[in-house]
């Protein structure tokens, strides 16, 4: 008995009971399975992309590559449009994220201040747009009539402020004590200075999260590219990728001539293109994902 009490009180290693050990093992197995579920599709894509096309067609490639060759990559890299779209997406993401973050912060800050005149009305009007969208055609007509089509602005302006992210940011700003504002006012600072020198530096985690949310959203967006870009040299990557991925399903199914039937993209080439274009994100993501964890906590604790 005394020994058990001593063990329990001893700092550091604590002996696990058999029940805890079983529980830990189940958790470990569950997590490993979850990881495999995520990793396997990427691995499968990779081994298919370096395998012989016919072996892939026969469904023989599932654990390791067969008939290893890089022909699919040679072909995929000759697609001029892939690299061009990659550059476009990068540009839209960088510019769009900068604009969206600035505008969202500028909208969120006044709404976070309790003393702002008409705060409730503004919040209602802004939140209203979250639930009632004008629809695809109306949005298209607005963008078209503003002559934004075929410009980068069509990609970054229509979705510049996400109300949901704005609310997250506003909640983050609200968590900063009012006393800080008051003391800054007493020291002669105006709203812009308080925003720039006090609120933003204290909201780095919130800002980083919103930046990531916007960046991921813009990187994955293909609808604005489809609707607002007529010039294929300005297409974002996702539009191109989607076309490649979908080529073997709906569109490819309705072939009614040899010409259309023949123009089917090999599975290995398709996967090579997807892998090339996804690789940079796969590399960057592990370093950025910690902010997502923080972002999930923004505004979750009150008081």
């Amino acid at each position: 008995m005394t020994k058990r009490i001593e063990e329990a009180l001893r700092p550091g290693k604590k002996r696990k009971s058999p029940g805890e050990k079983v529980f830990s093992a189940i958790v470990a197995v569950f997590l490993i399975c979850s990881c495999l579920l995520v990793i396997y599709p990427i691995y499968y894509m990779f081994i298919c992309s370096i395998s012989d096309g016919y072996a892939v067609t026969r469904g023989e490639v599932w654990l390791y590559p067969k008939g290893i060759n890089l022909k699919a990559y040679q072909i995929a890299l000759t697609y001029q449009s892939v690299m061009r779209s990659f550059r476009n997406s990068l540009q839209y993401t960088v510019v769009g994220t900068a604009i969206a973050t600035i505008l969202t912060a500028l909208c969120a800050y006044p709404l976070s201040r309790k003393d702002m005149y008409g705060r409730g009305v503004f919040t209602f009007i802004i939140t209203f747009t979250m639930f009632f969208d004008s629809g695809l055609v109306a949005n298209y007509m607005v963008v078209s009539s503003l002559h934004l089509k075929n410009t980068i602005w069509a990609m970054v302006l229509p979705g510049a402020i996400s109300v949901w992210y704005m609310i997250i940011m506003r909640t983050g700003f609200q968590s900063i004590p009012d006393a800080l504002h008051e003391s800054a006012y007493l020291d002669g600072a105006n709203d812009l200075v308080i925003f720039w020198k006090i609120i933003l530096p204290l909201s780095k985690a919130t800002m980083a999260t919103i930046v990531l949310f916007y960046a991921v959203g813009l990187w994955n967006a293909y609808i604005p590219g489809l609707l607002y870009m007529d010039d294929s040299t300005k297409y974002p990557l996702q539009l191109l990728l989607r076309n490649i991925v979908m080529s073997s399903s709906a569109a490819g199914n309705s072939a009614t001539s040899v010409a259309a039937d023949t123009a089917a993209l090999g599975k290995n080439i398709k996967y090579a293109v997807i892998f090339i274009t996804t690789l940079p994100i796969l590399v960057v993501y592990p370093f950025a994902q910690k902010y997502f964890v923080k972002g999930a906590m923004v505004g979750s604790v009150k008081g």
Binding site: I75, D230, L240, S248, L265
Partner: protein
């Protein structure tokens, strides 16, 4: 203090930028030529007087314009872009058209997967390019009456070559069905020389030999062959499909003497040549043969139980690794997919098509192939500034010269014509694209020619040069069977007026809901075929007779 100054300057700068932006915006919208017209218009200087004179001269002569004589213009041209055959933006066809017509085609190449969305938004908002290729029959019928497209009959002197083709005896009846309120609002994509293709029964011939049975001539004999194959390969199923259940019915029903869901159609309606009228397939007595065949095949382990969820990739995988021995699908997959993949693991393994089978029960021997031409159209924006020059250009694509350019590129450079009339593609061009995913698609995309690029009057002769000879042989066989009357072309659905169309859509949706909810249980044996009559009655109760009446009324109207 310093901060205050910075803020002031910032405020001034922002205000100035906003003012400049507003003024620029106002400037843009105040010029109607730039704001409302299709994008091509903005690129031309204001020379309306000269242009009109030229148009008058052209109209008088009635001949296609030569580019050197005419003012250069830019015309926007939207079409879908296949992932497997990406069309180059500045391709050979675009260059040759610019040389000949002084028209620069500014291509809007919309990804194939989302083309219908883009097209729908453009049509619904009436924000169209000068030319839009790939308008389907339903869109044509919906939007032509709204005045979005030019009527070709208003430009008869410019489109004589096209009208000559579509109003010739062999196409006149079909063309009539595409007229809307007496007008013709699009250039149809037409077949000039296509390698014949049809969804037919394809069998593993090596396994047929193993069974010791002869090539089946009837559906019953085919069933016997499948049973014999199953006996030799008890762990395997024998056949499946790639696009869910209604597609499977589409491939089998007509060939078995019944009909419904023809060629990717989701509707049970089909044209029955024996009765010369449109019928709803599943309620016909003849359909019992089809459902019985499938139910037996399921029970005997011939039909892959995954048939209802199988996609194209999975089906091709099973056919290419020897898991399945029979398929009813486009013959083109045999030489391109199944046989090369099978040959790597078994040099004797090969699929081949067999002649249309006889249905003893229904007294037929027939198969169905896709429409001769495509039911998609190239339409001209009614607001375009250059209606006549565009009509001339599109008409030219149906002339001998235009057809050659839009299917093969530049003569002497990309191809030559042999003494016997055979088209010979430049060997350097073939070598250049040897390492592409597909040689044929690579050449066509780079030149901007053919069905998936800018071709309107399709000639697939190039394919004969670069493809497996089995295609060409099969194509000739299919042509022969078509001429013998064993294979029929799938006719176009008749044109309905607005009220009829609404009723047809409603009835088809209701029938589709009932049919799709019930049909699997008859195939997989959950419901007995003795109860088939109750489904037929339910379908009739949903208005099949009214649907047939609507189709036949519209069909008769088109014939008149």
């Amino acid at each position: 203090m310093k901060m205050k100054k910075v803020t002031k300057w910032l405020a001034v700068a922002v205000s100035a930028t906003m003012l400049a932006g507003t003024l620029t915006g106002c400037g843009g919208s105040s010029d109607p030529a730039q704001s409302d017209a299709p994008s091509g218009e903005a690129q031309e200087s204001d020379q309306g007087g000269e242009n009109e004179t030229e148009k008058a001269e052209e109209a008088e002569s009635g001949t296609p314009a030569e580019g050197s004589d005419q003012e250069p213009i830019t015309v926007t041209f939207m079409r879908s872009n296949s992932a497997a055959q990406p069309t180059a933006e500045d391709n050979k066809v675009v260059q040759l058209i610019e040389q000949k017509f002084n028209i620069h085609l500014e291509l809007q190449l919309i990804p194939d997967a989302d083309f219908s969305t883009k097209k729908s938004v453009a049509l619904a908002s009436a924000d169209l390019p000068d030319i839009i290729m790939g308008v389907n029959i339903d869109e044509l019928r919906q939007y032509a009456p709204t005045g979005e497209f030019l009527n070709l009959y208003d430009y008869q002197d410019k489109v004589g070559d096209y009208l000559g083709i579509v109003q010739a005896d062999d196409r006149a009846a079909a063309t009539k069905t595409y007229e809307i309120d007496g007008g013709m609002y699009g250039f149809q994509r037409l077949e000039y020389n296509r390698i014949d293709l049809a969804p037919l029964v394809a069998l593993r011939m090596d396994r047929l030999e193993e069974t010791g049975l002869g090539t089946p001539a009837t559906w019953d004999e085919l069933y016997e062959v499948m049973l014999a194959i199953k006996e030799k390969y008890p762990d395997q199923y024998v056949f499946s499909t790639r696009n869910k259940t209604t597609y499977m019915f589409g491939q089998l029903a007509y060939a078995m003497g019944s009909g419904g869901f023809p060629c990717f159609s989701g509707s049970g309606m089909y044209y029955e040549p024996r009765e010369e009228k449109w019928l709803y397939g599943p309620t016909q007595d003849s359909f019992k043969t089809v459902i019985t065949f499938l139910a037996n095949a399921y029970k005997d382990g011939l039909l892959d139980p995954d048939y209802a969820t199988m996609d194209k990739d999975t089906l091709h995988e099973k056919l290419s690794n020897g898991s399945l021995s029979m398929v009813v699908d486009n013959n083109s997959f045999i030489g391109r997919v199944y046989n090369p993949a099978l040959a790597q693991v078994d040099e004797n393994a090969r699929f081949d098509i067999i002649a249309p089978l006889e249905s003893k029960e229904n007294g037929t021997r027939r198969a169905l192939r896709y429409e001769r031409d495509w039911t998609e159209f190239t339409c001209v924006n009614a607001d375009t500034k250059y209606p006549e020059r565009i009509m001339e250009l599109l008409n030219w694509m149906y002339t001998e010269e235009g057809r050659m350019v839009t299917n093969f590129g530049e003569e002497g450079v990309d191809y030559t014509v042999e003494a016997d009339g055979t088209i010979k593609t430049n060997p350097d061009l073939i070598a250049e694209h040897q390492n592409d995913a597909d040689v044929f698609s690579g050449i066509q995309g780079a030149l901007g020619v053919g069905l998936l690029s800018l071709g309107e009057y399709i000639d697939e002769a190039l394919y004969a040069e670069v493809s497996d000879p089995i295609f060409i042989e099969q194509g000739k066989v299919i042509r022969g069977w078509t001429e013998e009357g064993l294979i029929d072309y799938n006719p176009a659905v008749p044109f309905f007026n607005t009220e009829e169309q609404e009723e047809v859509t409603e009835l088809q949706q209701a029938l589709s809901n009932v049919f799709n909810a019930e049909i699997e249980s008859y195939i997989n044996g959950q419901k007995s075929l003795d109860d088939w009559g109750s489904l037929v009655e339910t379908l009739k109760g949903q208005g099949t007779e009214r649907l047939e009446e609507l189709f036949n009324t519209a069909y008769q109207r088109a014939l008149q």
